[in-house]
Symmetry: D4
Subunit: 248 residues, 8 copies
């Protein structure tokens, strides 16, 4: 809970600036702010270095710009995922410093660049088509205050490329692995290192890849014990979980 805001409330009550009844009423209205179609939870934003996150998909540029702009009134970083260039254009008009991370399809406003993560997070992708998902993980981890290193296009059918770069892996405190098709990379990476691996199945692949299901099943059944899995194409979730681990 947002101790500071609540403490202020009590101080105002003690100093007589606020009646208890009014205070109860404010407390009731504190937690959720009303933007009309979505209640945003401020508590979340108060956690040190945690960015405000908006899911861009299915929102009009105007809607997204309004939400994004509103969020800037508090401090901290802001991240809009699954955002289109059109949405960015609308945001940009209201929030001059906002930037578009094209490959990740993310709009970011970075105002806090403290390093909250204790070590480095490696983000690994199997093929070039998995990079969009990997980049979403990268942006998320960066906005949450982590040093991130990329290791892309190191799929299992060319295992030497992965092995030649295992220095990056062994230097990481957490590793995110994005892979489509058979989803085999997390198992191989997991076997090479001793730190947690967050696996992200991607919807890359054809025919019996079934939009990421084959990769998801592959990862669920990983023979490496240090692998856990997030949803298909969920780069944000992987970046988020990895960031939490890296803060520990």
């Amino acid at each position: 809970m947002n101790a500071e805001s609540i403490r202020k409330l009590f101080l105002q009550v003690r100093s007589g600036k606020l009646s208890p009844d009014e205070a109860v009423n404010r407390l009731r209205h504190l937690p959720f702010e009303d933007l009309g179609f979505a209640k945003l939870d401020h508590h979340r934003a108060l956690r040190a270095g945690m960015p405000e996150v908006v899911f861009g998909q299915r929102k009009t540029p105007a809607q997204l710009a309004q939400i994004f702009s509103r969020l800037t009134q508090r401090g901290g970083n802001i991240l809009a995922t699954h955002a289109s260039p059109e949405q960015f254009a609308a945001v940009k008009k209201k929030v001059r410093n906002a930037q578009y991370r094209e490959m990740a399809r993310a709009i970011v406003l970075q105002r806090d660049s403290t390093k909250y993560g204790k070590g480095m997070i490696a983000v690994v992708s199997a093929g070039t088509s998995d990079i969009a998902v990997a980049e979403e993980a990268v942006v998320t981890a960066e906005l949450m205050g982590n040093q991130v290193e990329r290791l892309y296009d190191v799929g299992v059918a060319g295992i030497h490329r992965l092995l030649a770069n295992r220095g990056t892996l062994t230097g990481a405190r957490v590793v995110i692995v994005c892979a489509g098709m058979e989803g085999a990379l997390p198992s191989v990476v997991g076997g090479l290192i001793g730190v947690p691996v967050i696996a992200v199945p991607t919807s890359v692949g054809y025919g019996a890849a079934f939009e990421g299901v084959a990769a998801l099943l592959g990862m669920m059944n990983s023979c490496a014990s240090n692998v856990s899995v997030v949803n298909i194409d969920n780069g944000f979730g992987a970046g988020y979980v990895a960031s939490l681990i890296n803060r520990l």
Copy 2:
């Protein structure tokens, strides 16, 4: 077609030993022999070095012994797959030289040990639990006249074990890879070598392995282009396809 048998028929007709009508009648009864519950195709057995194959499952020991025994009347090797020790006991009584390959659950009678295959077939397994399927492939390939080398317990979570033994892989003319769980091994193996890889998903695994479906999907989506796939647990099919390739 069994040219020799038919040629004899014509010779008998020419020599007058057989009337044309009788010959037509015999021809009609030639192709399929009647064992009561299964018509066995003799044509198949006439291909040089091809073993007679019986599928043991759901047959009583007596039924299997009768079929197996009958097959010995012609030359060549005989293979009964999915065979139990009880079935073997029944076969052994009728066919003294029959042997039981316990891990493969196969009964074999090897009378022809010609090497029909031109090179070596490597049979690789990911884990110890995949060995039963791998052994069925081994037995099949051996009975079809191939030199076989095993490379077991080299799953992708300990990639160095596979790499330490890649000499076996590079010496092979065809490679069979058996793997359950995520079914990732064929991709890795396929990336290391330039010869055809026959992948066999096994029903090994738990939870979301779904009796081999996860491995099957993984293999169908292999990012290595030299991989083709046979049915779940179908060690026989893999050994058969690999043997055909090795004869070319």
Copy 3:
């Protein structure tokens, strides 16, 4: 890699006790010990406090006892998962100090009780039927040197029970949540805390639970961003991942 063993090899070579050729040969045989049916990777065991792990299922009591006994020759803890009372009886004869954790179906030999984990791991279960899986996670985390606290039978249909115990949750550095049926608990737990949640779908449930698939899908789609998932009923994997995180 097992630096000490290799260093000894080099020392023996320098002192002339071993010829280089012999040393190469020994090195080749160092990594994998041969137990006949499974190559055990010693490297793994050398990581501080990491237990040796054997998967009990589909092994005869004699086989498991032999492997377990062999593993005792090195130091450290030993864990056999999916082990039956019969298997334990066989192990017990060879390894007097081995203990059976009945609910977890695990055989353990704990010789190292150093606390390698920096904080506490909370293991949460939705219903009483999920406890077997939860206990496997507990045993695994304990053998890997973690303080563990249980929070059982706090499913989402009685949300107040969970809330009344959220002190345990907020005191944890990592949380494992085991749930079958709709698999909703990880989302609720994830929303209450700010640390990583490892979700384990269990095969508990009837009808459209489909042996854990409903729970797995529920967890993959968790609306809480700090949740990642391991395979159905994979208490060991959850305990292992949580332990790695807790060591960071």
Copy 4:
């Protein structure tokens, strides 16, 4: 059956206004009116306060307008679901008082505002994306004569928001819960109250949400015993069932 209409028929026969043969003929043509492509069942409309319902999807604006207009000739409310703004424009030209409920994508003509329902129906949604489905349930329940209260954006990952508003829940006689992703909300709501919960899985979600299947399975496996489920995105069905219950 429509007793009144039939009674009139008999009266006309008794009074000699109608011959028995003519009456039989009329009776035959009574039940179904012919609009060319759809037979509408008048019996249904005669139930007190039950609206006429048209499914808008895959109908041209002209077709929908014709049906809607025809239905106005009888009394009572009219509801067209899955209706587009274009369809509304066409309806509006023929039926001046028709209104468009944009979020619910419904065209309504409300002429009867009797409260047939005995209590209040609460309509709950997990996220902002579930609101379209929730609103369809709201419109349906309102047109069927119920008092409805909304409780939106109270998903399980922020359980305090739900708890802070449980007054609405405990005041309801029936509760409708719309949720996508893991579909966990009905279980939590069901555990908080003692009245029937109608769960509506929505197709909201990504990756392994499978267009609402994950939510559907989650709801089918609800650990709360007072939950029953309607089809994915079927807000109309939920509103209809809840209304029937509220009339009891």
Copy 5:
């Protein structure tokens, strides 16, 4: 939120009895334990006529007998579902008045026979094989204080049998319909009546019935709007939901 408790807190702060910091701390620990939640569970137990329910499956006879016996210490009815004759024998020794409802596989102790339900609940089954599930619904509804009428073996392939008995249907306040195979019966029943229908797919059927999945899908897609669905074979859930509705 519990405004009164919080108001007291503010009053204590204003009066100086509590420092703001202490107040923040108390607030943090207040929310659930003291805000009425602990009472919620109590409230549940106090609901008039609600039976105690035990799920018998996977419990030993001794375990079930112990639980059942302990539950008798409070008043009210007791229901053990999925219970075997062996479990009943064990229960019977401890609880003399317990009875076994063989077809429903349920152990019951009925001490309260008040009629809490306002009308009659009809329980309909499509085939004779669905009766076990139907009987579980019957027992549940009876123990919860309802008048129940059975209408069995009225599947859609002999529609006249259903129609000949529609008096039972029209006399019901809620209807439960159990059907396997294609699960079509709820649609037909739903079309004949104007009250809520609770559909229960059963795992009866062969081949492509897929253990109740075909029936489940059929019911989810019912073209009758008054149908909602519970889990496969979940007779208890249907009886429970129907009872709640019948109390309204």
Copy 6:
């Protein structure tokens, strides 16, 4: 609708014998009992040569014997499908002339051997393992008064065996084709002939055969236009449909 009955009603009303209210009431109770429905079931039993059918599975020997015996009181043939030898023993004691068709797992009492079918029905099976299902179709068709010819073990991998026997196919008025594994045989048979083909997927096969699903999908997608499909292993259904067609 039954115009005559209704006309009588109107006449009675006109003549004053019946009041309109009473007439409405009678009409309400008229529709089905008196409108020919009761006769429908009778009509069914009267259909010449239709056997009484009992589904044996999940019935005790005593139950089956009792039902079977009771059915003998009417004339005509009796067929019990999915019947075990134990069930037959019990039936045999009560019905001396009953016979057991072992391969079909059917108990039959044939008292009417009239040939109701106009032509011959060919029953084809792909492999020896499909014969049980094929035999059920044979028994059903024979008891319904058809001449049946078998064509077994003519799977598509040995297409010449099928072609060598196509005389049987071209002589048939309807063809039943039973096949497991890939379920390809109906397409091939369908392409060879111009009469209806009833395809029966069987649960024969391994791995990705999924208990008949692969065969079912294969048959649903048959590229031959004269193929329709019944449920997996449903030899009875195929025999029944084929018999109806053969009577036309």
Copy 7:
């Protein structure tokens, strides 16, 4: 086998006109080309009243027009299914008498209106959305020379509408039933009549209808024994099978 051809061969060998080796060689080349197969296709075209059928989908208007036009060079009817208005426009230019059946999306040229079918085929649809599929069945059956009667919008949720029209059903020699959603109609229809029912699942429905899969499963599991099933939306196949049956 073609005994006569083979007999000639033997006669030639006996008479010395042919050497055995040459005979063997000829036999090898004999089987199919000379054994009646070439004639089989011809035979097909000669079957009285069978239309030429073209599948329109994925063909350009020009391609379809060219094929359609070429087919007119032989006599008989022509049917193009899945054809768009654009394709019809192109066909119309080349084939003046071609007609477009809009609801069925079919282009037809009917030059032979002989009634080849012996009775009437009833085509039944559950809802208005199933009519497109039903009309494809109607067109197919008509072009194949059958009298067809339609019975539309008689779904199971309003069973009285079906019953009121059962005269049409009982007058049919074969019945085609098209239904989406739960696919229950074929079971009900099947129970009312004694002739073969061809069931066509349609892709009509929402959510868990899964593009016709729910209806398909429902029909496969029909509790009426006279039902067989064709592929989803396959109105053509149903019309074709029904026509073959009606010619018998």
Copy 8:
């Protein structure tokens, strides 16, 4: 393992040039970079006649043109699969000799026309809709230096067309079979010949074809032992595997 490198290490230790600690350290960094792996990729490029392959899908024309152009700097053939006419236009501007194989949707630059394959590869397709996939296999095999023969439109419902052309099949060293719908053709082809068959399921079909899944399952369950399978629509993979086999 690379014995020579390691042997040198030991020699250096024995000669005192290297301390044991330094040696351990070097060994740790040795394994992959220096043990021949870097050369592996080079080795790949050097394999005689292997084309460079680019996957065209999801690349802009400019991107594809740039990659294609760069690849021309090395010798050998170049193949871009899944390429659109727009992409070809862009490539053509940079690489004058590039050609577009329209049916295969492939851009090729053939500079090496050596025949590396020892025999002929037959590419078979079931229907005209499978030709796109078949042509991709043809182009791939041709660019890899094989003689290819096509055998199109020989589906199993017209088996005589396949049989009439079996000369092509029996002349092949490897056979590729592309089929959608029920995927039955590989089984029939496999039964006619004794060489390996590579089966390619295509996404051709409607309704329950499920975008190639029905064909995939059919092929996995092929009753012909010489069949292995690649992914749905993966003509490239089939051509690649067949080419590798044909080089052996």
